[in-house]
């Protein structure tokens, strides 16, 4: 019998062989050689990591215990492969076109890139995967112990061997699963290694089977007799259990992280599924071919009480065939290692991508621009994740004591992982499925699985016996294994029925009730109609690209000069003498970058896509273009607003400037007017005073007359200065008003009498004194000044033969209106608008006024809160004065 040392040496040798194969495959793949590495044969063989140690050892044990029920575990995947390969094709297409890295990534991506969902699936996968890894450790340990029992040296210790096995597997997974970071997460080396292991385990099982049939039973005939004689041969189908198990294994085949890894992530060609659709069921058939014979013979020849899970090892050993036993051991070892390695890789990808990296990124200050190299951090996260997952498996094994039968641990894991199925299938085929629905379904199914299967299965450690038997808080309808009072069911069937049906119901109901986000809707459309949207490869394949078209397009975007320069430089870089570069992928990528600087990344991608034709424009591309356009629109909107604001400011400045120029001109004109008005009387005064001084022979009449002229002109000067001062005070607004109470009638009385007194001219003033009994509260002197001005204007300018001035007053709702209308020829229409301006002279003004009177009136009325205006159409000159009955401070 082989000693333990030999066994360890063989194991190490086998592992070194695997390393060699994986390493060589990686080298070949990196060198672009070895197309067979990506063949459908390798793909199909890699799928057979479905057959773990559980299949290798457990199938026989299961057959020995429960008869033909073990077949269900093979029937599920077979049914999926044969009847649902189109569904798998959709899964693969979705996975590849969205560059999905794991099943958690797929679910999260489908439901609007929700990281919450990714974390849920990751937790579920880790919890479901941990017992499964423990199962592999257990099988390796058990097979070791078979050899150890026979080893005379007695060196074997179970605990330490499990530890070393776990550590060794972790190292292998780390070495080959995290060698580098590939965008597509493909690992040619590992896939090739597990394909080799698939061959080894199949060969080992077939060899043992052949030995049993022809070496022990003595041929096919006697073997059939033995089977007929044993109980296993009897079809004893429990429909509930069979249906449940077939369904579970089918679900697990699709949902298991390691299956997803090899089937979707590592897939290099969709066409491989066609081969796998018949080749993988064939593999399953071959590997299950000798299960029943081995079980029957094992039950026959092995002593009572021997573990049927290990018949594959113990039967050859008992027949003294050490080398066959060794081969069998290697087969089992292969099954376990390949499963553990791929599972660890898949789980570590999920854990690092969805748990560790988000946390790490958020601790980096959340500055979404981690531009530095994060590869080493991702790799480190994966390596640590693998170690932690292996440690979890190890501790689960130590906790559970390794006592449970292999098959039942596997089924518990299956039932857990199957909870992903509704969200996965719903996501692929139902556009109405939402993130909320997926979360609800997963949560419900996951909790039920824990409550009804995982916790009861772990014995009394985590769930008290009382809960198991009479429900929590004595609520019997909540008993974990008899929910809602439905008793007598097989625990597994019970769990699968309740958890998956409630999971599906929660998923559907929550999906129908919730409203998907735009991103979710977009992803839903892309997933469900994945075959309508062609796969958009990221790298450009420019085989059909027309450099000239690209050149024309680039010219339009960058302008002729820069476009020409860019293309020239690229052509030189390619070393060709042609003026246009070949549309190599590298060139196209640089062009895309160049263009995206001008039109945005999405637009650039879509435009090149149109010309190169390698990919049509997807909905996502269009949406990205729309987003960019919206941003551009918003930006240009801001620019427009800014430009409008500038225009407004410029107009205001222009207006202010015009106004200032006007004011400046007005000032010049005013000074010039004032100068003129001052110089004119001074000219007369100077001339006559010089005449009187220099002329001796003036007559007394002449002397008197010239002195009178000097006097009049001096008065005129004084009046002018008075008016100027008055106007300046009024215009500056610093005038202080002296508000008093009186009637309009008495104000008018005073104005009329003071104007008409001391003048030789005649003017008949007509008034309706009864209507003038209006009480006023205002500055009476200022108002009188206005009246005097108007009356004296009529006196001076009314050109009628018998000048008349009609003054009429009436009260109009809080205001008094006084009209002054004379019977002269009035003011010509062209001059009416200027009569209130300073120095306005209408016609030949010879009456000695400086033209400031009406300007002063206008200022006064404004101060008093009223107004004065010219009243056209009254025959003669007509002015209207409008005044509030009571002076209001605010009116100023």
């Amino acid at each position: 019998m082989a000693t333990l040392n030999v066994l360890i040496l063989v194991c190490l040798g086998y592992v070194v062989l695997l390393f060699g194969v994986a390493f060589a495959a990686d080298r070949l793949a990196a060198a672009g050689k070895g197309a067979w590495l990506r063949s459908s044969l390798i793909y199909t063989l890699s799928l057979s990591i479905y057959c773990t140690a559980w299949t290798f050892y457990g199938a026989v044990g299961n057959a020995a215990r429960s008869g033909l029920e073990f077949v269900t575990i093979y029937l599920g995947p077979t049914l999926v492969m044969i009847s649902w390969w189109w569904g798998l094709r959709k899964l693969v297409r979705v996975g590849r076109s969205h560059r999905v890295t794991s099943i958690a990534d797929l679910i999260s991506s489908r439901y609007g890139k929700s990281n919450t969902l990714a974390i849920c699936v990751t937790i579920l996968a880790v919890l479901g995967g941990t017992p499964y890894i423990a199962l592999q450790l257990q099988s390796i340990t058990l097979s070791f112990s078979i050899f150890a029992d026979a080893d005379p040296s007695g060196l074997y210790r179970e605990g330490s061997s499990v530890f070393w096995v776990a550590a060794g597997l972790a190292v292998f997974a780390i070495l080959f699963g995290t060698r580098n970071l590939d965008a597509n997460e493909r690992h040619h080396g590992v896939v090739t290694a597990i394909a080799l292991e698939s061959v080894v385990k199949l060969f080992a099982l077939l060899a043992v089977g052949a030995f049993v049939v022809w070496g022990v039973a003595g041929g096919v005939g006697p073997m059939m007799d033995r089977i007929d004689a044993s109980e296993i041969g009897h079809w004893n189908v429990d429909t509930g259990r069979w249906t449940t198990f077939i369904f579970l294994s089918a679900a697990a085949f699709v949902c298991l992280p390691r299956m997803f890894q090899v089937m979707v992530v590592e897939n290099t060609d969709e066409g491989h599924l066609r081969t796998a659709a018949w080749a993988f069921p064939l593999y399953l058939l071959l590997i299950s071919l000798f299960v029943v014979p081995i079980a029957v013979v094992g039950l026959d020849i092995m002593p009572e009480g021997s573990n049927p899970d290990l018949f594959v090892l113990t039967v050859p050993l008992s027949q003294g065939n050490d080398w066959l036993a060794m081969l069998s051991f290697i087969g089992g070892f292969s099954s376990a290692t390949s499963m553990v390695i791929v599972t660890a890789m898949a789980l570590s990808t999920m854990v690092s991508n969805h748990v560790v990296m988000p946390i790490w990124l958020s601790t980096q200050g959340g500055s979404g621009s981690v531009s530095g190299d994060v590869r080493h951090i991702v790799l480190l996260a994966r390596r640590i994740s693998i170690a932690v997952i292996m440690a979890l498996g190890f501790f689960y094994y130590r906790l559970s004591g390794g006592g449970a039968a292999l098959a039942s641990i596997g089924l518990i894991a299956f039932a857990g992982i199957a909870q992903i199925l509704p969200a996965l299938v719903g996501g692929l085929f139902w556009r109405g499925a939402t993130r909320t629905g997926a979360l609800a379904g997963l949560t419900v199914g996951f909790l039920l699985w824990i409550y009804t299967l995982l916790l009861p299965g772990m014995g009394g450690v985590l769930m008290p016996e009382s809960v198991l038997h009479s429900g929590p808080f004595g609520l019997s309808w909540l008993r974990p294994q008899a929910l809602f009072g439905i008793e007598g069911m097989d625990p597994m069937v019970h769990t699968v029925m309740w958890s998956l049906s409630l999971n599906t119901i929660a998923f559907c109901v929550a999906s129908l009730l919730s409203f998907p986000s735009p991103l979710e809707r977009l992803q839903a459309a892309q997933f469900v109609n994945v075959f309508d949207h062609s796969v958009a490869p990221r790298g450009w394949t420019g085989s059909v690209a027309q450099s000239e078209d690209l050149m024309i397009m680039t010219q339009r975007i960058l302008g002729a000069g820069p476009a020409h320069e860019f293309f020239q430089a690229e052509a030189e870089k390619q070393g060709g003498r042609a003026s246009l570069p070949e549309p190599t992928p590298a060139f196209l990528e640089r062009l895309e970058r160049e263009l995206s600087g001008s039109v945005g990344a999405a637009t650039a991608h879509a435009m090149i896509g149109q010309i190169v034709g390698g990919s049509s424009v997807s909905v996502e591309d269009l949406l990205a273009v729309a987003d960019e356009s919206a941003q551009l629109l918003e930006y240009s909107g801001q620019l427009e607003a800014k430009s409008a604001e500038l225009t407004r400011t410029a107009r205001q400045l222009r207006e202010a400037n015009t106004k200032l120029t006007q004011i400046s001109e007005q000032k010049d004109s005013f000074l010039s007017q004032v100068s003129h008005e001052l110089r004119t009387p001074m000219t007369s005064i100077r001339a006559f005073s010089e005449i009187m001084r220099d002329t001796d022979e003036l007559s007394p009449e002449e002397q008197t007359r010239y002195a009178a002229i000097i006097h009049d002109e001096a008065l005129r000067l004084t009046r002018l200065l008075d008016d100027l001062l008055d106007l300046s005070v009024l215009e500056s607004g610093r005038v202080s008003l002296n508000v008093g109470d009186d009637t309009l009638r008495s104000v008018l009385d005073r104005a009329v009498s003071s104007t008409l007194a001391g003048t030789s001219k005649t003017l008949t003033v007509r008034r309706t004194k009864a209507a003038e009994r209006i009480p006023l509260q205002t500055d009476l002197d200022r108002l009188g000044q206005v009246f005097i001005n108007l009356i004296s204007n009529a006196l001076k300018y009314c050109d009628a033969d018998e000048p008349e001035l009609t003054i009429s007053a009436h009260d109009v709702g809080g205001h008094v209106v006084i009209d002054f209308v004379d019977n002269g020829s009035g003011i010509p229409p062209g001059s009416r608008s200027v009569v209130f301006e300073k120095f306005a002279r209408v016609g030949g003004d010879k009456a000695g006024g400086a033209g400031l009177g009406l300007a002063i009136c206008r200022e006064i009325m404004q101060r008093l809160g009223g107004e004065i205006m010219y009243l056209p159409g009254q025959g003669g000159a007509a002015f209207r004065v409008r005044l509030p009955l009571a002076y209001q401070q605010a009116a100023q």
Partner: protein, 126 residues
Amino acid sequence: MSRKVLLIEDEPNIAEAIRFLLTREGWQVETHAEGADALQVIRVASPDLLILDVMLPGKSGMEILRDLRELEDMQGLPVLMLTARGQTRDREMAENAGVSRFMTKPFSNSEMLTAVRDLHAQATQS
């Protein structure tokens, strides 16, 4: 020999003062106070000297001078212009229009008489 001066000035007191001064000098003085018909009045009066105010009702002295210089037979008429505004711009405008002498109000009587004498002397010499 009779010397005739035409004075176009709308301020009656100023016109009276100038008339007094020039009459004593031996001038025959005619006055007019309107701008609008000034050109006709000048033609009719046919003076030896024209004294012209700038600010006139109807038509400004500047315009009258400009139109006057357009006429063939009025090229040599000496024109003394009076203004109360006294801005350099007005003086330039007057010189461009062909003024003979430009005076700002108020002026001294001797200043006025000197100007009139000079202008007349120049006119008779040429």
